[in-house]
Symmetry: C2
Subunit: 516 residues, 2 copies
């Protein structure tokens, strides 16, 4: 056994059996080790943003980390944007980044770079093996850090000589299951008192508190106390649809978010962050809460959020309530005519199968998706959590690997989709059951709005050429087919609805270019 | 005028009039400033790797930096791999990376990250403006650093409030032209003595020493002294073809490189690095030179390389020689049958027009290109300098923007091409005169070789699925057309030759899928 084998076996001993990869020469001994171990499923991405984004989508649905395999500093750099999104989602992830042999670094060969400096901003844990025997304990540390709290990004640097050197070091015992911090009774009491005090209270939740059971408890707390419950603006995963509690999210647009909290006197945080503006704007506040608003951190992001909700239900007596108010199965009527984002949401509300996984990188086009789909079939909803576009196609890819028996639906803005369009090929290669809906408005629509906010007036030549994706328009059907994914185009509601019905009835990857 | 205007005007005052961009909300005031200033040419890339790679190709051909515009940490991260290549090529580049407003950073909004930590490994200079008035001097510093020595990567962080705040600060005077360090007379004498001493000497050159005139001088030194002249393994730009001196490069493969220098007693470096292995391999040396080889650093990478060559020519009396030995216009005869990398090189040697720009990211497929094309029409040859794949399509894009009257030819491996395939759209948008030849061997061919070197035997299921790009094969014609680039496929020599002839005769972007 060499160091690469030890790394592979340590991952497997901890239940990490999926490796999203784009290897290079310095990782060839690890590739050989993976090749000796068929229990590890290796999934190739044709660009590292696909690799890390797929690992994010996988872990959000599997509730356990995948490994990634990346090639030196530049390979890691290519994967950083989706590691950033995963870090914001608190997704567990174990990245293995190959590096030159330890003694080769001093020669400053062309691919040498400061991997630690690149990794740190997007990682919760960064470590480097020095020897083959090191790889047992270092891999265990990486796994422990990935599983700590709500989940973390671990980046383990693997020098080529640590991988290729033989070792008789034993495979370490599996890392102990993480224990989450129980809710602080003082905070539970404080929250309970605030809820009993007649003030206008909003309970803001994220993470595991957005699964079906704690959501039902949160609703009973709301029924009992009159509080409002709401999810963070962006969340790694949320369970919603018919039979589940309908939660709204904090709006993205600053003015709307400020208005949402204008009358709020107390906010109770269940893993969530107190809401701030996604961006700063001249003359607008950074915090979305009124200055006098009291903030009670019932549970931090790394605490046991489900236990915190249960404790608050006990504290408020909400457990005694018979049931949560859940959405009935319902969908609006389909309009006719030209295709709109709203019509796409309605079509989905009507057709989405039970237990679909919806990955949302629709950016501006999907902002009204929620209100239309509270009564859709029950589904998981995964969001762009860190604002680094290019998450969507990889996330659907990873989610489909984690849940091969569920239909995955990608709501994909066209500008963002082009960032990691290579992910479509992985969907074809792995025969993944993903339907990608591209909202083809042929522009960075969100930026047109932002430019108007700047007071720049009508965009001139330079601005238009930086914000529009026309001239030429992207032919998404051609691009998808070029990567082996069947595709069709729709520009009317009727055509879209027909194509979507067919795509959902079939199996395997399909892309719909929804021309808006 | 606001800070963004001041930044834009300072760039223009220094002759930086091209900005490769992919902006976001935090850069909207800079976009508005660019929109007010039509002298700045803004070129959109649909992914930041396209943006930085195009800036690299542009500056290699224009001999002056372009600006880039990137969106916060993740946008920078997406551009880092091609910044890495540019750093290794010593390409001048001024990156402008937007950040949140200074006061917004403490709120840790979703897109917040440690931009400095990300930028440093791939930058020679990293700076941050704090105020609008700051932007004059900070931009000047960035430009000076980009122009220093052989060229450097500058990364200027632009907080949104520094951009949007009004300022009456003056536009700084243009940065003084850089002065390069003259050659050290002691090193010139040492090199001259070594050349006169009868030892086996290799002069190893890179950078500006690889332009036509210093190459001719180097050859006269070789004629006079019997020394061998050679270029570094990877170089930012090299002038070659008929009427120019034929230079070989240090081989990529370790065993070949070691053999190349086995009998070398002295190496004289003209801006080049003493050759080391691109990667480390068990039991193989890191340095490609014999242990006893003497290394004379005639000129460091930041010194005046042309003056160093001239000084050595004077020192050795080589100026007295009548002329350099240059390649005659010649091309091998075209073979028949199935298409091979060698046949592609011959076809190019026959058809390439005068003053073409050849950007080489053919990886394993292009290793024999040189020997076939010494007698091709004179051309500039640009390489993947840092080993971070995904440079090719962006580099051709930027080179074509810099030199609109020259034909640009991309030698593009298929695996690498997928990394930044979005660059094809920018070629279509800007009507660039680029012919991209995709070497479609449908695998990471180089890694198959490396896996064999590891002694892993025949690849099994996991290795094969990480190293092969088949199942499904990429349809490059469909992908290119989907982005607005005309394309055709060839799998015979005759078909390829016909398609290439047509593509070179036309204008505008064209892609040839060369099925190998």
């Amino acid at each position: 056994m060499n160091g690469a084998d030890l790394l592979c076996e340590t991952l497997l001993a901890n239940g990490i059996d999926t490796c999203f990869a784009n290897p290079g020469t310095s990782e060839m001994h690890f590739v050989a080790a993976l090749d000796r171990q068929p229990r590890m499923r290796c999934v190739l991405g044709l660009f590292e943003g696909v690799v890390t984004g797929a690992a994010d989508g996988y872990a959000r649905m599997a509730d356990r980390p995948a490994a990634t395999l990346l090639h030196l500093g530049p390979g890691l750099a290519n994967g950083l944007a989706n590691m950033h999104n995963a870090r914001r989602a608190r997704t567990p992830m174990v990245n293995v980044v190959g590096d030159h042999a330890t003694y080769h670094l001093a020669l400053d060969a062309p691919l040498t770079s400061d991997i630690e400096s690149l990794a740190r901003p997007m990682s919760h844990w960064v470590g480097r093996a020095q020897t083959a025997a090191d790889l047992g304990p270092r891999t265990s540390e990486a796994i422990a850090a990935a599983r700590a709290g709500a989940g973390g990004i671990s980046t383990l640097i693997l020098p080529a000589d640590a991988a290729w050197t033989d070792t008789d070091a034993a495979i370490p015992a599996p890392v102990a299951a993480p224990s989450l911090t129980a809710p602080d009774p003082a905070q539970v009491r404080a929250a309970g008192q605030a809820l009993a005090g007649g003030a206008s209270v909003t309970i803001l939740a994220t993470g595991l508190a957005l699964r079906e059971a704690p959501l039902a408890l949160l609703d009973r707390i709301a029924q009992k106390t009159g509080a409002r419950i709401m999810a963070q603006q962006a969340n790694g995963r949320m369970q919603r649809g018919a039979g589940r509690v309908a939660m709204d999210r904090v709006p993205y647009v600053v003015d709307q978010a400020v208005a949402t909290f204008a009358a709020t006197e107390t906010v109770i945080l269940v893993g969530a962050k107190a809401p701030v503006g996604f961006f700063a704007y001249p003359g607008k506040p950074g915090s979305m809460l009124p200055e006098t608003c009291r903030v009670i951190p019932l549970a931090g992001p790394d605490d046991d959020l489900v236990a915190a909700v249960e404790a608050l239900a006990d504290e408020t007596g909400a457990r005694a309530l018979p049931q949560a108010r859940v959405s009935a199965r319902a969908a609006p009527e389909l309009p006719q005519g030209a295709l709109t984002p709203d019509a796409i949401a309605i079509s989905l509300a009507q057709l989405m199968p039970d237990n679909a996984i919806v990955c949302d990188e629709s950016v501006s086009s999907g902002r009204d998706f929620f209100r239309t789909t509270h009564g859709a079939a029950p589904h998981d909803f995964l969001q762009l959590t860190g604002g680094a576009i290019g998450a969507g196609i990889p996330m659907t890819t990873g989610a489909a690997i984690a849940c091969p028996d569920r239909k995955v639906i990608g709501l994909q803005a066209d500008g963002s989709g082009m960032y990691t369009v290579q992910g479509l090929w992985t969907q074809a290669r792995e025969r993944l059951d993903v339907v990608t809906i591209v909202f083809a408005n042929r522009r960075y629509q969100i930026l047109h709005g932002e430019l108007a906010n700047v007071g720049a007036g009508q965009p001139g030549e330079n601005a238009r050429r930086m914000l529009d994706l026309d001239d030429p328009a992207l032919d998404w059907v051609g691009i998808a087919r070029g990567m082996g994914v069947e595709a069709a185009r729709a520009d009317t509601v009727a055509a879209f609805h027909d194509i979507l019905r067919g795509a959902l009835a079939g199996r395997g990857p399909f892309l719909i270019e929804a021309v808006l």
